[in-house]
């Protein structure tokens, strides 16, 4: 115990160098844990976004691509699929429910998604939880909109407000569907998924705002007012993708094959769980590379500590000799120097942990609004404890090196050392 307090006092005496070492260890540890947190939470948030959907059907492209644009609103569709194909498969006898999805427009950088009321009934996220309303109710008219929680929060929208949808998905769009405003009728409860950042309208609404548009432009002479558009046939010709729920899981591969072999249109049906796994396989390489880099950063931090301890040792030979003369055994010297390294690495790890939670607290709202990634502030996971333990143990082992050198010196040096 006396040795530990001696180690602490000795460190306190060299507080400037000691605090520099602490900073480097703390930063590297918080980086390591931060990267691990991000990895785990991004996986969780992806896995929680879709639940209970058996198949996702879209235009033929890649499985990962289809999953990303249809469910996570990342990237754009390569192609749309015809309404007739959708109708045909939604009436398949093995299919219990379908949710059509039509993407392409936006409102102040939030995606607008066309769908139908089945979305609120059948869409499931996390552990098969269904969507609930924070305020209001589902849409039942063409110019009604239901907002995700995040949209309402950020733009400060309330039920009853009118919003204007912009053409295209860009952050700043120059063309607005300002002749056909939508009324907010509902706001969904937070889900921690891309649903929070989506504005939901009926497919007919998407069709209506594009009624007087030809080839991506509004035609000057053919303006159709909001009321006139309602009189027209608002059945969409094409949608972006649709989600499928089956009556029996056994039929999954059968329906998938039927869709993939559909002769009239090149369609692709994917199993969302399987596509997600493919995505992890792909991301795994990058994740491992990132983890390697952070592990190296921690190693650099620890080596920095080793350098400082070894460099300091020469200056402290007289100190050691005095300690020896006061009755300290060489073993005590070893314990003292190793103890100093251990204290440094343990305190470094603790500060690193505090740093991680501090930055989590600070960046949580920003990360959620910018990247849609919810970072829960929870106790370290088993894997994180393991990492922390590993850093602490390496600190101890590295501390043995200067400890051993001090031990050797203390055996050889007398009181009158020529430094």
């Amino acid at each position: 115990m006396a040795i530990i307090s001696l180690a602490l006092k000795s460190l306190l005496n060299r507080r400037f160098t000691a605090s520099l070492i602490l900073v480097s260890i703390a930063l590297s540890v918080s980086l390591l844990l931060g990267v691990e947190r991000l990895r785990v939470e991004s996986r969780n948030s992806f896995a929680n976004t879709i639940s209970g959907t058996d198949l996702v059907v879209g235009a033929r492209s890649g499985a990962i691509n289809l999953l990303l644009y249809s469910v996570f609103r990342i990237g754009d569709a390569t192609n749309n699929i015809s309404w007739n194909s959708y109708k045909k498969f939604s009436e398949n006898r093995m299919v219990a429910w379908t949710i059509p999805i039509s993407l392409g427009d936006s409102h102040r950088s939030f995606r607008v998604m066309g769908t139908n009321r089945d979305y609120f009934q059948y869409y499931r996220y996390a552990q098969k939880r269904s969507l609930t309303f924070h305020q209001g109710q589902p849409f039942d008219q063409v110019y009604h909109a239901v907002l995700g929680y995040e949209v309402a929060q950020q733009l400060n929208y309330r039920v009853g407000q009118k919003i204007i949808i912009a053409h295209g998905a860009g952050k700043t769009s120059f063309t607005h569907h300002d002749d056909k405003p939508f009324e907010v009728v509902g706001i969904l409860s937070p889900t921690g998924t891309p649903v929070d950042r989506t504005i939901h309208v009926l497919l007919q609404g998407i069709e209506a705002i594009h009624k007087d548009w030809v080839a991506g432009r509004q035609v000057a002479g053919r303006k159709i007012s909001a009321e006139e558009a309602l009189q027209k046939d608002l059945t969409p010709k094409a949608i972006t993708a649709f989600l499928v729920g089956l009556k029996s899981k056994i039929a999954t591969f059968k329906v998938q094959r039927e869709v993939n072999n559909y002769r009239k249109e090149p369609l692709l049906a994917i199993l969302p769980g399987v596509a997600l796994q493919q995505l992890w396989d792909l991301m795994g390489v990058a994740e491992n590379a990132l983890l390697m880099v952070t592990v190296l950063v921690v190693a650099v931090g620890l080596i920095g500590m080793l350098t400082v301890m070894l460099a300091g040792l020469n200056e402290r030979r007289r100190e050691m000799a005095i300690l020896r003369s006061l009755g300290a055994r060489p073993g005590h010297i070893l314990l003292l120097v190793t103890g100093e390294s251990m204290v440094l690495s343990l305190v470094g790890v603790t500060i690193g942990l505090l740093l991680l939670y501090g930055s989590l607290l600070l960046t949580q709202p920003f990360v959620e609004s910018q990247y849609g990634l919810y970072l829960p502030i929870t106790l370290p996971s088993l894997r994180e404890w393991f990492m922390l333990g590993l850093v602490g143990t390496s600190g101890l082992l590295i501390g043995l090196i200067p400890g051993y050198r001090a031990y050797r010196y203390s055996l050889a040096d007398g009181m009158s050392i020529r430094i």
Partner: protein
């Protein structure tokens, strides 16, 4: 200048009509699924007390060639392969506690069991095979398991049965969710 414009006009018109013709012709498009030798696919679905397994494998993994048999040895190989595929017990071992009984077995072989084509047409036959170069065996197995909760893993024996198989991509679907895993001869147990 006007000539060039005219030319462009004609080219675009012919391209347009050409593409519509192409579209009409391709209305019934051809399909070419992925086909990698050494890799097989296993699709597993379970719900209630039903377990369905579908096995798809390039003929290369099963018999070592992908054409109609040209001699006695090859027809024998096809025959014994089909015989093995009809016995799910040789391909998968299910935990006995789950009490699974085979309900139906369907095996589709793209290759005939006996060399039926005569030698006069053998030239033609090889031409055909150049067009359709890849052929797959499929096996469809359905089980009824009395104790589905005890079905926690399936050991895949396909690697022993057909040593040409190097990797099996497994997709499984159950009420617990969907998963994808790759099995190899060293790691041939599927955890459900």
């Amino acid at each position: 200048m006007s000539r060039i414009k005219q030319g462009i006009f004609f080219i675009s018109i012919s391209l347009l009509t050409g593409s519509t013709q192409l579209y009409a012709a391709e209305h019934e498009h051809e399909e070419h699924g992925a086909h990698v030798h050494g890799e097989a696919q296993l699709l597993i679905a379970l719900e209630g007390s039903t377990l369905e397994i579908e096995f798809l494998s390039p003929a290369m993994n099963i018999v070592g060639f992908e054409h109609q048999s040209t001699n006695e040895a090859q027809s024998h190989a096809i025959e014994s392969a089909i015989e093995a595929l009809k016995q799910p017990g040789l391909l998968f071992s299910l935990p006995p506690a789950a009490k699974c009984d085979s309900v139906s077995i369907e095996v589709e072989s793209p290759l005939k069991e006996h060399g039926e084509q005569d030698h006069e047409h053998s030239n033609e036959a090889s031409l055909d095979l150049e067009e359709v170069t890849h052929v797959d065996f499929t096996g469809h197995y359905s089980f009824h398991c009395a104790e589905m909760s005890k079905l926690d893993s399936i050991v895949i024996e396909i690697f022993n049965q057909f040593p040409g198989t190097e990797v099996i991509g497994v997709q499984s679907v159950s009420n617990q969710g969907q998963q994808k895993i790759e099995l190899t001869p060293d790691h041939s147990t599927l955890e459900l």
